[in-house]
């Protein structure tokens, strides 16, 4: 159980957090043939592009309504209108996703009303789904932007049906999952004879495939029709606490009931997931997962020597913090410092004394005598200064290859994660030396001490 507090500083130093619209834009990137747009000034989009390009090492579709000072004060409808028309003409997307920014939220606009008017004026947009989300930069964080966006996509597109699609389940992955994670979960679902509609599906769009042609929009990902069919599914599986909002939205609209899995990293967590799938499909857990389970148990046995008693400092968004923190604590680590970006009910349950909503300076100060630092690539400076190894987790990861292909869910993913982190501990294990056990200084002059008594 942890006390959750918020940093009282006036100046954030070395931000851990990224802004909400970025999370929103990334969620839209998990839709097929989508063009995400930030409703704001061009610079916000440029920063977003650089951020995602460096992390995914992929071409990133992201546009801007190109607001300036005057249009901000006058209201942004004309810019939204022009942006929609231009994108529709040039990129021919199947769906457009619009995230607001701090700039346009400061002078609160009625985008709902604007969109209605724009649609009336332009029949060519009639069939084009346009989903907009309120994501001011000055509130919440990346993870919130992601989950709000998924909820909004569902609100706009999911429809109640009477026909069920046999064997179809909905999978709502949190922003902390990679393409590899999503693929692994799909494989687990399919192993029970079920099929999954994944929303959003970064494993389809940002998995590094080589397209035959160049497209300005996303290529791969969840199609609009698939989202529309989510109301016909058997059940919804939400991965990460952040996805409850979207799962609930879906249940309220379509009646499809949901289960939230707070994480899929760890033995217990996966036992529960597989039993849920078994219940949904009426099939027993396939043999391959029985084998994988015992491999994970073995990995825990082999690994616990190196995790036990280690002090770890983690800086990550709530759901990632939860996944990694609980796993490491289950293997015997002490979570000596936990810093996160935004509030989540999960945080109070963290196996540590305090969770701080703060920045990487806070983490660095608390990590002084830790054995391992776990955070995104921006932790590299702190790691160097402290002389503590850094295990990169989360977005952005710009100084390592394959960020979106790292697997850490399922029995297999948990096993691999234990090996990866365990190897960092092994590599930095402490060697004994002749001066490892000095006597306390006071013993230097026992005689004088005895005399003065």
């Amino acid at each position: 159980m942890a006390i959750v507090s918020t940093s009282k500083k006036a100046c954030t130093v070395n931000p851990l957090k990224m802004s909400q619209p970025m999370g929103g834009a990334l969620a839209f990137m998990g839709l097929a043939n989508c063009m995400p747009v930030l409703h704001g000034s061009q610079g916000c989009t440029a920063f977003g592009l650089v951020l995602f390009v460096r992390h995914f090492r992929e071409a990133i579709p992201l546009q801007t309504t190109a607001m300036n000072e005057v249009t901000t004060i006058m209201g942004g409808m004309d810019n939204i209108e022009q942006a929609l028309l231009n994108i529709n003409k040039r990129a021919q997307p199947e769906i457009i996703g619009l995230c607001t920014t701090g700039l346009t939220e400061t002078r609160s606009e009625d985008i709902h009303g604007d969109l209605k008017l724009i649609r009336q004026r332009h029949p060519e947009l009639a069939k084009l789904p346009i989903v907009f989300v309120d994501t001011p930069d000055f509130k919440d964080a990346f993870q919130d932007g992601w989950s709000k966006t998924v909820a909004r996509i569902i609100e706009e597109l999911a429809t109640k049906t009477t026909e069920a699609i046999p064997g179809q389940v909905n999978l709502l992955p949190g922003s902390h999952l990679t393409a590899a994670d999503i693929e692994e979960i799909m494989e687990m679902i399919e192993a029970f004879g079920l099929t999954a509609v994944v929303l959003p599906d970064l494993s389809g769009s940002l998995d590094g495939h080589i397209p035959e042609q160049f497209t300005p929009t996303t290529l791969g990902g969840t199609t609009v029709d698939e989202v529309r069919s989510m109301g016909s599914s058997l059940a919804t599986l939400a991965i990460g606490q952040q996805m409850e909002r979207a799962a609930l939205e879906l249940e309220m609209r379509t009646g499809v009931s949901y289960t939230v899995f707070d994480r899929l990293t760890g033995l217990d967590a996966n036992d529960r997931f597989l039993m849920t799938l078994s219940g949904l499909s009426g099939r027993p857990v396939p043999l391959k997962y029985r084998r994988q389970r015992s491999q994970l148990v073995d990995a825990m046995l082999d690994g616990h020597f190196y995790f036990g008693g280690k002090k770890v400092a983690i800086g990550a968004e709530p759901d990632l913090l939860w996944s990694l923190g609980t796993l490491m604590s289950e293997l015997g680590c002490e979570i000596a410092a936990a810093v996160t970006t935004t509030y989540s009910p999960q945080l109070e349950k963290m196996p540590c004394a305090e969770v701080l909503i703060g920045d990487l300076e806070d983490l660095e100060l608390r990590a002084k005598d830790c054995d391992l630092l776990v955070t995104h690539s921006h932790g590299r400076q702190a790691s160097e200064r402290l002389g503590i190894p850094l295990f990169r987790a989360g977005l952005p990861c710009f100084d390592r290859l394959g960020a979106n292909h790292r697997l850490s869910v399922g029995y297999r993913g948990t096993r691999d994660l234990i090996f990866q982190i365990g190897n960092v501990f092994l590599e930095h294990s402490h060697e004994n030396a002749p001066d490892s056990w000095p006597l306390p200084e006071a013993n230097d002059e026992p005689a004088t001490q005895a005399q003065t008594v």
Partner: protein, 459 residues
């Protein structure tokens, strides 16, 4: 805001910018910022540009006043290198919240400045204004003034909310801030007849260090580089230089020109990209210094160095001529392009089959024709789809461009080399030209191309 508008106008009227002066009165008022097309725009904001220009000052604390977007999404992502303090790589931001929007963010900014000074004690603090805080009317100049008096340290307001314009405008506004608040406020410990400023050089990938040994050899001292690997004190005392070189397009021409006006420091525009440009720049530096009273032998010493270094570079480059025979280059870069690089690449046997001329003047376009022949392709704006097609149809063997179009080339399974800001290689001076050619060779002749272009056996 009114003050800022005047500044923006002033910058647009830059008399030393020939591109600008070629325009009519009305057109000039509009400045270099084209009206952006919503839904089809690309490029960074003025804040971004100012940060690019000033963040290379290594010992300053750079505080971004605004919501998390401006700093949180992009801090520590530049390639400017430091030989000393690493404070410039620390991300400071007020990360304003909804409450600040309602009640104003000035108090938070003031407290932020105090915290930074207490914890990090930098020689100066730069405060960057961004869109949201400008919109709610936070007066950063007033806050900086109060903080300066209280903490007895230079606290410099950089008024560059993103929405006033492009990166390029941001560069210039950054320069204005240096002129208004920094340059001329301190004195150097000593001066020599060999002191120069280098303006508009950001030490990306450590490029200054490819030039510095040359200057060192000649006994020329860089009093201040504005702003790569600079200390605050160096910039503040840069008004005592004898001459200046302005590099890299026209990004900071206002600084060079106004320093000439105010402190009588003559400057020239030069480039350290390419062999002949590097030599020319060294010659010009020497010439200006001698004009300002440095001993004449500097000129001959410079010639000797140039002859030696050019020979050493060509010796290493000539080996590539055979390997580059018939290889075609597509050169896509936003304006920052040195003709000397083009001619050096041609010299080693590469054929430039196309180049972007988006930010080029008519004069530039004439140069392209001169250099590459009448049928060289000039693209105003090459959409990714076209770029991809060109590469896919193998009308070029390698693309040199910025990171933005990287994946267009890679997905077409074509060699690509980063020559813009995010690059990790240093391409300046004689050494840099050799590196560039080596990198092109590495990309062209990497063994992967054959395998990755093969279809899967079942296709």
């Amino acid at each position: 805001m009114a003050v800022l508008n005047i500044k923006v106008q002033e910058v647009f009227n830059e008399p030393a910018c020939d591109k600008n002066q070629a325009k009519g009165e009305k057109e000039r008022k509009k400045g270099c910022t084209k009206q952006l097309v919503p839904g089809a725009a690309a490029g960074g904001c003025a804040f971004d540009g100012a940060k690019i220009a000033l963040q290379p000052i290594i010992d300053v604390a750079h505080i971004v006043h605004g919501p998390i977007a401006c700093e949180g999404n992009g801090w520590d992502n530049r390639g400017s290198k430091s030989s000393g303090s690493l404070l410039y790589r620390t991300g400071f931001t007020t990360d304003i919240s909804e409450n600040d929007i309602i009640y104003g963010g000035e108090k938070r900014l003031y407290k932020a400045i105090r915290e930074v000074i207490e914890k990090y004690d930098p020689p100066a603090v730069f405060v960057y204004q961004t869109c949201v805080t400008a919109l709610i009317g936070d007066e950063i100049e007033a806050v900086c003034k109060a903080a300066k008096e209280k903490f007895n340290k230079p606290i410099i307001p950089i008024n560059v909310p993103g929405f006033v314009g492009s990166k390029n405008l941001g560069n210039k506004l950054a320069g204005e801030a240096l002129l208004d608040y920094v340059i001329g406020t301190e004195e150097p410990e000593t001066t020599t007849p060999y002191d120069i400023n280098i303006i508009g050089e950001y030490n990306l990938a450590g490029e200054m260090w490819q030039i510095k040994p040359l200057l060192d050899h000649l006994g020329i001292r860089v009093l201040a580089c504005i702003s790569g690997d600079a200390r605050y004190h160096e910039v503040a005392s840069s008004h005592r230089a004898k001459a200046a070189m302005m590099v890299c397009s026209k990004a900071m021409i206002n600084v060079a020109r106004k320093m000439e006006e105010r402190y009588a420091i003559p400057f020239f525009e030069g480039s350290f990209y390419g062999i002949s440009d590097t030599s020319d720049s060294l010659r010009q530096i020497a010439k200006l210094l001698v004009q300002r009273g440095a001993p004449e032998d500097l000129l001959s010493r410079t010639e000797i160095l140039i002859r030696r270094e050019e020979a050493r570079a060509w010796e290493r480059l000539n080996g590539y001529r055979k390997r580059f025979e018939g290889k075609r280059v597509l050169l896509i870069t936003g304006g920052v392009k040195s003709w000397s690089v083009v001619s050096a690449l041609q010299e080693v046997g590469l054929e430039i089959v196309g180049t972007s001329v988006k930010k080029s003047t008519d004069e530039d376009k004439e140069r392209v024709k001169e250099l590459m022949g009448e049928d060289a392709h000039m693209f105003d704006d090459l959409p990714p789809r076209e770029m991809y097609k060109m590469l896919k149809e193998a009308r070029a063997d390698i693309m040199l461009s910025g990171g933005r179009s990287q994946f267009v080339a890679l997905k077409a399974k074509m060699p690509w080399l980063d020559i813009n800001q995010e690059r990790h290689q240093a391409y300046a001076g004689y050494e840099g030209m050799v590196t560039l050619v080596q990198e092109i060779d590495k990309a062209l002749y990497n063994p992967i191309w054959e395998q990755v272009r093969k279809d899967a056996p079942w296709q």
